[in-house]
C-alpha cells in the first residue's frame, strides 16, 4: 500500500512539476510502512520515496545550476526520512512493549485471582473435611470398643458350642455357620471403621523426591496378577524423562490404588485400564482411565464429597481421601466421565523444586 501511494505521489509530482511543494507528502507512505511493518520496510519505502522524488525532480523539475543538486536533495530527503523512521519505530516499539507489559500483568493478575479462589475453595473443603473427619473418628472409636467385646464373645460362644456339641454328640454345624456369618459382619464393620479412621487421622506426609514413572512402573507390576484375574488389560505410557515430584510415596500410592480399584469396579467384565504420566509445564500429569460404565454428570459432580458413593458397599470416603491426599501435596484432581464410555481421572502434581 505504501509503495502504491509512493508511486501515485511520484506521478502527481511529475505531472504537476511541483516537487518541493509535494515532497513533504512522501513522508506519509514512509511513516505508514515504518508503523505497520517496522524499521527495515520503513527505510526501504523511504529510499523508494527519495528515488521517486529524485526521478520526478530530474524529469520535471526546474533547471538547477549544478547537475548534482537533485542528487544532493534526494540524499538529504532520505536522511530526513531515515531519522523520522528511526524515531517512529522506536516510539512504536516502546508503545508496543508497554501494551504487552500491561497485557502480561493483567493475565498474571487474573491467574492469581483464579488461584486464590481455588485455594479458598480448597480451604473450605479442608475445613469441612476436618469436621467430618473428627466426627467420623469419634463415632469409629465409640464403635470399636463394643465391637471388640462382640468379636471376642462370638469366639467364646463358638468355643462353648464346640464343647457342648462334643459332650452331647449333637451337631452344632448350623450354629457354627451362623457364628461365621456374624464374624464376617464384624470384620466388615471393622473395615468400614478402619476406612473412616484412615480418612480422619491422615498422618503427616513424609515427603521425598520420587521419580513418578519408575515408582508407577514398579507398583503397577505388582498389580498385574490382579488385573489379569479381572480380565483387565493395562496400558501404561510413562514418560521416562519426567522430572521427580516431592511426595509421600505411600500416601500417593494409596490414592492411586483407590483410583485403580474404582476403575476395576467400573469394569466388572474386564476392559482397558490406561495409566499415563507425563510432564505438563511445571507439573506432572498422571491420568488413570478406564473404559467401564462411567458416571452420570450428577454423580460426577458429587464425586469428591465425603460419604457420597455409587457403590452398594462403599463408605463414600475413597475419593474424598484421594482428593485430600492430592490437595495436601499441592496438586489437583479432576474427573472426566461419560455414561457407558468410562472415566478418566487426571492428577496434577507440582514437580520437585529445581526439576
Amino acid at each position: 500500500m505504501a509503495v502504491a501511494l509512493t508511486i501515485a505521489l511520484g506521478v502527481v509530482d511529475y505531472l504537476t512539476g511541483r516537487e518541493w511543494a509535494i515532497s513533504a507528502f512522501y513522508l506519509l507512505p514512509t511513516c505508514l510502512a515504518a508503523w505497520m511493518a517496522g524499521r527495515r520496510v520503513g527505510l526501504l519505502v523511504g529510499a523508494l520515496c527519495a528515488g521517486v522524488w529524485f526521478l520526478s525532480d530530474v524529469f520535471s523539475g526546474p533547471a538547477y545550476q549544478h547537475p548534482l543538486i537533485p542528487v544532493w536533495n534526494a540524499i538529504m530527503l532520505f536522511v530526513f526520512f531515515f531519522v523520522v523512521v528511526w524515531l517512529l519505530v522506536a516510539f512504536r516499539n516502546s508503545h508496543y512493549h508497554l501494551e504487552q507489559t500491561v497485557e502480561c500483568r493483567t493475565a498474571a493478575l487474573r491467574a492469581e485471582i483464579e488461584e486464590r479462589k481455588r485455594l479458598e475453595q480448597a480451604n473450605v473443603q479442608a475445613e469441612r473435611l476436618a469436621v467430618v473427619g473428627s466426627m467420623a473418628a469419634q463415632v469409629a472409636h465409640e464403635v470399636r470398643n463394643p465391637l471388640g467385646s462382640i468379636s471376642l464373645n462370638i469366639d467364646l460362644i463358638g468355643q462353648e458350642l464346640h464343647a457342648f456339641a462334643n459332650s452331647n454328640g449333637h451337631s452344632a454345624a448350623e450354629c457354627q455357620v451362623l457364628l461365621r456369618e456374624m464374624r464376617s459382619q464384624v470384620l466388615r464393620i471393622r473395615q468400614v471403621v478402619q476406612e473412616y479412621l484412615r480418612f480422619a487421622r491422615m498422618p503427616k506426609s513424609e515427603r521425598v523426591e520420587v521419580s513418578l514413572n519408575r515408582f508407577l512402573e514398579e507398583k503397577l507390576n505388582f498389580m498385574q496378577p490382579l488385573l489379569e484375574q479381572k480380565h483387565v488389560n493395562l496400558r501404561s505410557t510413562l514418560d521416562p524423562n519426567l522430572p521427580p515430584v516431592y511426595v509421600d510415596a505411600e500416601q500417593l500410592w494409596e490414592a492411586f490404588l483407590n483410583l485403580i480399584r474404582n476403575a476395576l469396579d467400573a469394569m466388572p467384565d474386564g476392559g482397558n485400564l490406561t495409566v499415563s504420566a507425563q510432564r505438563n509445564g511445571a507439573e506432572a500429569l498422571v491420568s488413570i482411565s478406564d473404559n467401564g460404565r462411567g458416571m452420570s454428570q450428577d454423580e460426577a459432580r458429587n464425586l469428591f464429597v465425603p460419604f457420597f458413593t455409587t457403590k452398594n458397599d462403599g463408605t463414600g470416603l475413597g475419593l474424598a481421601y484421594v482428593q485430600r491426599v492430592i490437595n495436601e501435596h499441592g496438586g489437583r484432581i479432576d474427573c472426566a466421565t461419560a455414561r457407558g464410555k468410562g472415566s478418566t481421572f487426571s492428577i496434577q502434581l507440582p514437580l520437585a523444586v529445581g526439576a
Binding site: 470399636r144 463394643p146 467385646s149 468379636s151 471376642l152 464373645n153 467364646l156 468355643q159
Partner: protein
Amino acid sequence: MEELQDKSVLVVDDDPGMLRAMIKVLAKEGMRVTGVSDPAAVVKKLADSEKRFDLVITDLRMPMFSGRGVLALASALPELPVIIITAFGGPDVQAEALRLGAFAFLEKPVARAELLNVVKRALARPIREA
C-alpha cells in the same frame, strides 16, 4: 494351651464389656487374670509386690490414667511385657507405643486367636535387658 496355664495377667480396660470378654478368653486358657476397669487401680496392683504379673494388657486412652502411664510404670519392671489393645489406634500412636516399650500393639476389635497368639509370643519372648 500349656504355655498359658497359671500365668498371671493384668488386664486394664475402662470399657466393661471389652474387659469382661478379655478376662473370659484368657481365663479359659487357664491364666490367672486380674481385671481392672478403673485405671487408677493399676498403680496399686502393679505396686503390690505380693502379686507378680507375667503380662499386662491395657487400653491406651482412658479417663484418669492412660496406657502411656501403664507403659511408664511397666518400664520400671523390665521383665514385664505390655500389650496395648486400643480403640484409639493409628500409625502415629502405634509408633509411639512401641517406642515407649510396648511389646505389641493391637487395634480393636481383635479376634480370640489373634489375642492368644500375641499373648503367647509375649510370654515366650526372651526377657529384655534392664
